[in-house]
């Protein structure tokens, strides 16, 4: 909370500064008097009197000695709580014996300790802080003659329920996805990691949006230096608005011009929890169901969380499959163009003949064909994404089947090219991370051109260029290609395959600090067969 306040203070540079520097200024001082009416005027001025969702309710205590002002925002609070727990107890004698004793001097203490109820209650020193809290859905209780302000946690607004994430569907595993509400998201994590060392550190960014950002990590597992770096980078953000975690991602990533995503995002709560348990830091941004995971390495993008829930063989197979698919998505059209243009001798004769026969009468060179088909596919895909589902299907049928078929029949493209493009397209969909697959899709085009200009040497040239870039990338101090570089054999196996849980003894070396032990040793199941333990009795018919 301390941190939150320090950032709150930072959020108000002008007011804070003027308060300290120019104390005698009467206009600024109005906000920080003990007078109720002056402060209510100040609030009205600050929030604008034409703003109708700001509700200011004034009332008095039953003995008429103390005047109260209640400020909250309609639609963001639970009105029942306000009525039952704040207004009624303060206004009447029936609920609390202390109500008659209220005076301006003891009001703060009595209200806090005896009269009003409500789980979340805090005291702020000045009206400006109170306004910020009110804007988040809390309720401020102003007491005439008392400068400190009581803040009741009354946040309640319409929110989307916890649903299965649409972008990361899984066959097996938890189906709870993050929502737009930050508290729901923290609770999803807290429910998975019930340990006192799980920390949620709150920060704020966005001058106008005042967006809450939470760093979730496990104290003692997450590297303190990494945390410090994340805090620094987020605290340095000076922008007017944060509407999605994507904004944060772009403000804190290491190489802003890189085509590769250096920060992973996920909607799955179990994936985020797994990342936290590995020693990563999860950045939750209010109003965004996508949380960010730092640091991120390239091989995270070929991992899906269900790899870890299904049997290891399936996990290993799928990982390796994705690795192959990744290469296909990146290189296949380029290699096809290079081989058919420059290295025809590479192909077995039968295959070469059938390709040559299919290309008979095609007006374009292979590279033209490839680029046109790839571009067409990208258009189809984009058209299908934004349309409502039924229409999207129609588009893909018309686009994929009708146009593809017609193009072949008309002799505009060769069937081989259609196969190549379709394989590539399907391969891109098989990469779990959308942002990573987009990077590969974009890189495909320069590779095709290099392949057409310099053959396979050109393709390798392009790949080496990409490799130089990847080798130079870092995500929060961790090499992007880790654990393939800088990794131990165990780390490499852990990233490329997926060992059974009882074999995954350690957390990744590059991330976690301290004790990296995950499992006790000798956890391999070797239970005595049930019949020896006499769990099953042969049915002899006696009993």
């Amino acid at each position: 909370m301390k941190n939150a306040f320090s950032i709150l203070k930072k959020m108000l540079p002008k007011k804070g500064a003027s308060k300290e520097e120019a104390k005698p200024k009467p206009k600024q001082k109005q906000g920080n008097t003990a007078s109720l009416s002056a402060r209510i005027d100040y609030v009205k001025r600050q929030l604008g009197s034409e703003t109708k969702d700001v509700i200011i309710r004034q009332f008095s205590s039953s003995n008429n000695k103390v005047k109260f002002g209640l400020i909250f925002i309609d639609g963001m609070v639970d009105k029942e709580i306000i009525h039952d727990n704040i207004i009624r107890p303060a206004q009447s004698d029936i609920i609390s014996n202390f109500a008659p004793k209220l005076t301006p001097d003891n009001a703060l203490q009595l209200l806090q300790e005896h009269i009003t109820s409500g789980g979340e209650l805090s005291v702020v020193p000045g009206i400006d802080q109170a306004i910020l809290m009110v804007l988040s859905g809390d309720t401020a209780l102003l007491i005439d003659g008392e400068q400190k302000i009581l803040i009741y946690g009354t946040r309640s607004f319409d929110r989307r329920g916890v649903e299965e994430p649409l972008t990361e569907a899984a066959v097996r595993g938890p189906r709870e996805g993050f929502t737009e509400t930050i508290r729901t998201n923290t609770s999803l994590l807290r429910r998975r990691i019930r340990h006192p060392d799980l920390r949620f550190e709150s920060m704020k960014a966005g001058r106008l949006t005042g967006t809450e950002i939470i760093l979730a990590y496990i104290h003692g597992i997450a590297n303190e230096r990494l945390l410090e770096e994340v805090r620094l980078r987020i605290a340095a953000i000076d922008t007017d608005s944060i509407l999605d975690s994507g904004y944060i991602e772009e403000f804190i990533e290491d190489s802003p011009f890189s085509i590769f995503p250096q920060i992973e995002h996920t909607e799955r709560s179990d994936k985020a929890a797994a990342a936290i348990l590995e020693g990563r830091v999860v950045i939750i941004v209010n109003n965004s169901p996508f949380v960010l995971i730092v640091p991120t390495t390239f091989f995270q993008f070929i991992a899906a969380s269900e790899d870890y829930y299904e049997r290891p063989y399936i996990g290993i197979f799928l990982r390796l499959l994705r690795l192959v698919v990744l290469n296909i998505a990146l290189m296949l059209p380029a290699i096809y163009v290079a081989v058919t243009t420059f290295h025809k001798e590479m192909l077995p004769t039968a295959l070469l003949l059938s390709i040559a026969a299919a290309r008979e009468g095609i007006p374009l060179p292979a590279v033209g064909e490839a680029i046109i088909m790839e571009a067409t596919f990208e258009v189809l895909r984009e058209a299908g994404t934004r349309l409502p589902k039924p229409v999207g299907q129609a588009v893909s049928i018309v686009g994929g089947l009708v146009i593809g078929d017609a193009a072949i029949r008309a002799g505009l493209v060769s069937p081989a090219m259609v196969i190549i493009v379709a394989t590539t397209a399907i391969s891109t969909f098989a990469i779990p991370a959308f942002n990573a697959s987009i990077a590969l899709r974009l890189l495909r085009f320069p590779l095709i051109i290099l392949g057409a200009v310099m053959g396979l040497y050109g393709v390798i040239f392009g790949l080496l260029l990409i490799l130089i870039h990847l080798a130079g990338l870092q995500s929060f101090g961790v090499p992007y290609l880790a654990p393939l570089v800088h990794g131990t054999a165990r780390d490499i196996i852990g990233a490329l395959a997926r060992p059974p849980w009882w074999m995954a003894l350690k957390r990744p070396r590059l991330l976690a600090v301290g004790d990296r032990t995950r499992q006790a040793k000798n956890m391999r199941p070797h239970f005595t067969p049930p019949d020896e333990r006499e769990l099953f009795h042969e049915d002899t018919g006696e009993k």
Partner: protein, 373 residues
Amino acid sequence: MLEKGKISPRQAGELMFITLLATVILLVPEITADLAGHDAWLATFVGSLFGLLTVGIIAWLGLKHPGKTIYQYAESVLGKYPGKLVGLAYVWIFLHLAAMVVRQFGDFLTTSFMVLTPLSVFNISLTALAALAVIMGLEVITRMSEFIILLVVSFLLLVITLSIGNWELNQLLPFMKDGIMPVLRGAIVPAAFHGEIVVLAVLIPFLTRPKAAFLSGTAAVTASALLLTMAVVGTLAVFGPELTTSFRFPIHLFVRSINIGKVLTRFEVVVMVTWVAGVFIKISVLYYCAALGTAQVFGLSEYRSTVLPLGVLITALSVLLFEDIAELVSFLAQAWPRFSISVYFFGLPFLLLLVTVIREKIFGHSFGGQQDE
């Protein structure tokens, strides 16, 4: 320090391993088969192990002068100007090596794969790529080598394994028909290639544990020697020494000879892929050593400013040094081994070692090494 990156001994070993193996495998089979006949494989192995001597001297020097590259300790050992001269000599050898490697590779591509493309296309593009890697720094080159080593080793092992069906091991006989002399004569070329391990003298100060330098250098030399010997054995067993000598790039044809069930065939492109990657790492390392050396000899604060001029030099040299590939091969077989070993891979390091010892033992000068052990 001009370079802030640090690499682990294992990474350094992998880097040097690729540096050694990348080109040696292209030309050595032909040259050693020419000189040593049936015993070329033995010559290759024996010659390769010469690298260990260089590693020993270099590692000792590196420990004696902690935190310094060969350019720096040459000055503190021999005095300012003689030391700078030695440093410049090493800059030159790295440049020369890089240019030769670029040339070999360009020639390989133009003769074997893309006959119509001019040599300079490959030379310029490969040097530009290496320049980019050098600008990115030692750590980036190292990380790439960690990635590429997987490709190089697995492809090479795959190719050798697949070729076993074509082997006729009696082509390796008779064993040492003419005594040991042809073996030793044949050994000199692989020895010169493995002398390139001298890059360790530049890398040592960037190791996280400089004491492991000897170990990583030894591992690199031994691994490279073993793989190379395997490749030579394979080439000889498939073609026999006479045929091997008649090919320009025997390994290329060796790979081409693989034909399993008419499906697993035409692997030479795989070879090319691997070689571009390996050669690229090799050029980057040599280029880096030259760039860092230039900066250190001339006392620059940044080595990156030297990258562009050196790149131009490498490209120009790679085209101008040799008339054609025959000249390159004869240079590599005749002049190069004697020249490079006597001066760069053994002579100068040994001189530095000698002077260090003499100054320490006789004149009581302290170079600051070893005490902090």
